[in-house]
């Protein structure tokens, strides 16, 4: 009789463990961020982090009732920290691409941004939109797909010049090695706040950039929970408040703040 009871218990417990590992099962999540992007995610002097992405991550994860442990990453590590299991989530201003979707899943996007261009004030009349980048040298930060989107997707014959990060781009545009920096308008707005930077924002937004949260492939439950939290963040006005807090004075058009179309979790 006792043996039978043990059998029953074993059978019952065996059936309960069918679900794959998910971020919803953890109390503390490792969130990967960059620490070198002004306005978006940067390290303060006291060693803590601040910025739009940091605020969004804190708001969303508090809605899920989770604690956060930050993990600083470089551009180009966005995918490997997830596939290697070193982080649970990536808030690195990553846009959704079919290529990236092969190795990770995306919750959100939590914001839809556009690509814009920054040039030296002297070039403001020569470069008015993306087509004027023809034959010009543009900055290509390793790990990003921005230059490819101009040259291949838009078929604008610009010349991509490699750089390790955006600080290097700022140096290069200052001494004339490149003519333009193009990236998400939010990132550009941040770069323009750097001391000593004198650049002109062209203000001709093109290519939608769907900024999303990277999650591990197959974590459908976690992805769905994050989407619910993003919906709430937009519905209760938090998203509007955060965009206004960080980009209200940047010249980015914030007249329409609406919940983005989600990528879907599967």
């Amino acid at each position: 009789m006792r043996k039978l009871l043990i059998c029953v218990v074993l059978l019952l417990t065996a059936c309960g463990a069918g679900r794959p590992e998910s971020l919803v099962d953890k109390d503390e999540l490792i969130v990967a961020i960059r620490s070198d992007v002004p306005l978006i995610s940067f390290e303060r002097q006291d060693g803590t982090y601040d910025g739009f992405n940091v605020d969004v991550a804190e708001d969303l994860l508090s809605r899920l009732g989770k604690r956060i442990r930050w993990l600083e990453i470089k551009a180009g590590d966005q995918l490997t920290v997830l596939t290697g299991g070193r982080a649970d989530l990536v808030f690195a201003h990553m846009s959704v691409t079919p290529e990236r979707k092969k190795s990770i899943d995306f919750a959100g996007p939590y914001h839809v941004d556009f690509q814009d261009i920054a040039v030296r004030p002297a070039d403001r009349d020569a470069i008015r939109d993306v087509r004027d980048l023809k034959g010009r040298r543009i900055c290509w930060v390793r790990g990003t797909n921005i230059a490819q989107r101009i040259i291949d997707e838009r078929r604008v014959p610009a010349i991509a010049v490699q750089a390790p990060d955006y600080d290097a781009c700022l140096e290069m545009i200052k001494d004339g090695r490149i003519d333009a920096i193009s990236t998400n308008s939010q990132i550009l707005a941040g770069l323009l706040t750097r001391p000593g930077v004198d650049l002109h924002l062209v203000g001709a937004p093109f290519n939608e950039q769907r900024t999303a949260i990277g999650v591990r492939k197959g974590d459908i439950d976690g992805c769905e929970e994050l989407n619910r939290a993003i919906t709430e963040m937009y519905q209760d006005g938090t998203a509007h408040m955060l965009l206004d807090k960080w980009f209200g004075r940047s010249g980015i058009d914030l007249s329409v703040v609406a919940v983005p179309q989600f990528e879907g979790c599967s």
């Binding site: 039978l4 019952l12 079919p98 939608e208 919906t231 989600f262």
Partner: protein, 442 residues
């Protein structure tokens, strides 16, 4: 002698006690077996109800929302492109527009009903109702300006395009994303209900096997005990009870498995497939709208070409860097939303989709006026034949879905008809089998 007399009485008492205990245990385990089978049937039954009759059909209704709304916006763009000499066709577009508006109201009501206990989803529906009102106002303004300008077929004057830009921007940046998310969210509700019910019913299946074996073990022990104690080869009533219990366990498990399979098939091959195909159809409608907008709006041509490519990647992804590159590299082994199709369906759909993309590539190389003529004729035909194949596939999976739900219902009905009666008869036979033996001790 008195010393041996006492244990004899005790032995008689303990024999009748054991027979009683064993018979009682047999009855108890038979009752447990019945309870496990009924619990399992109720579990999968409620799963079938959720997917087949409640949430499932409502989710499918909300998927229509995205397509109806994209179509509404595309019809406005078309009417603006057609100009005054296409009066009757403009009128047809207007009728189509009104029809879509009616369908949208119905879908929204269904979505609202489904969202009753989900405040976030309810707010989404409310915000859609509000936003559609604003959209109507902007679209009417654009149409009025268009009628006043009295232009011929082709691109309308800039101030008309600017008025339309406001409407289509509202549709694409605020309303369509919410409609799309609504479908994703209702899909989540169904997926979670299904996962919970599936693990509950697999639990019930194991419980049926375990209680069935327990019942058989008790009945056999009772049988063996009676045979040894009373020197009978077997009690016929108990033999029949064993057979009934075995049959109950086997058919109960089989019917539960069958019902589970029906539920699984309704979910995978029916519900999921319909959901994916309807989403693909909705996005395709919006792609066709992007073609009209590309022709209509010279300021945002690039943007509409880009959104067309983005959507093409969502539907049938192949590695490529730009739209012409995508169109030339398109091959049968595409991924994306339609990547799950196999065999004949895949080939058939690929042929019409490729045709649609080829027509699109031709349209983009033509000068404006010729492109508008081509769009009104061949391109729209190519889109329509592609859409028709998609619609047929949706229909077929819908009937697969309904058939699977019916099959699950039938299994449930058979289970109700046979198993409770069989197990009750088994219990009765246990009593019949032990009753004469117990009487010997009276």
């Amino acid at each position: 002698m008195a010393v041996t007399a006492t244990p004899r009485v005790r032995r008689e008492q303990s024999v009748s006690g054991r027979v009683r205990t064993l018979a009682g245990l047999s009855l108890l385990t038979l009752a447990l077996l019945l309870a496990a089978i009924l619990a399992g049937a109720a579990g999968t039954g409620s799963g079938l109800r959720t997917i087949g009759h409640d949430a499932g059909p409502q989710v499918l209704a909300t998927t229509g929302l995205y397509r109806q709304m994209s179509e509404m916006d595309a019809l406005v763009a078309e009417a603006l492109l057609l100009g005054r000499e296409y009066g009757p066709q403009q009128q047809a577009d207007l009728t189509g527009y009104d029809q879509r508006r009616l369908e949208i109201s119905e879908s929204l009501l269904k979505a609202y009903r489904l969202a009753l206990d989900d405040p976030a989803e309810r707010r989404t529906v409310e915000s859609l109702v509000e936003g559609l009102g604003r959209y109507e106002r902007l679209a009417t303004q654009a149409r009025l300006l268009d009628a006043q300008s009295g232009h011929t077929a082709g691109r309308p004057p800039d101030h008309v395009v600017e008025a339309y830009q406001k409407a289509t921007e509202l549709m694409h940046r605020e309303l369509l994303p919410q409609a799309y998310n609504l479908t994703l969210e209702t899909g989540t509700i169904v997926r979670r209900a299904h996962a919970a019910e599936r693990s509950a019913s697999s639990l019930a299946r194991s419980a049926v096997v375990v209680t069935g074996l327990l019942a058989l073990a008790c009945l056999l022990t009772l049988q063996v005990y009676l045979a040894r104690r009373f020197r009978r080869v077997f009690a016929p009533a108990l033999v029949v009870a064993v057979v009934l219990a075995a049959a109950g366990t086997v058919t109960g498990t089989a019917l539960l498995i069958r019902q589970g399979e029906a539920l699984e098939e309704a979910k995978r091959r029916g519900f999921d497939a319909v959901l994916t195909l309807t989403r693909a159809r909705a996005i395709s409608r919006s792609m066709h709208g992007d073609q009209s907008r590309y022709l209509l709006d010279r300021f945002r041509k690039d943007t509409y070409e880009h959104t067309f490519l983005d959507k093409a990647h969502t539907i049938a992804a192949v590695e490529s860097t730009s739209l012409p590159d995508y169109q030339s590299r398109l091959h049968l082994n595409f991924q994306g939303l339609l990547g799950g199709l196999t065999g004949q369906d895949r080939r058939r759909l690929f042929a019409v989709y490729q045709n649609f993309q080829r027509a699109d590539a031709r349209m983009r190389t033509m000068p404006a006026d010729a492109a508008i003529k081509f769009w009104d004729g061949e391109l729209t035909e190519a889109y329509e034949s592609y859409d028709k194949v998609l619609e047929e596939l949706v229909r077929r999976h819908e009937s697969d879905f309904e058939r699977a739900v019916d099959r699950g219902g039938e299994a449930l009905e058979r289970l109700w008809q046979s198993i409770p009666a069989g197990l009750a008869a088994g219990a009765l036979l246990v009593l019949v089998g032990v009753w004469p033996r117990l009487r010997e001790y009276r």
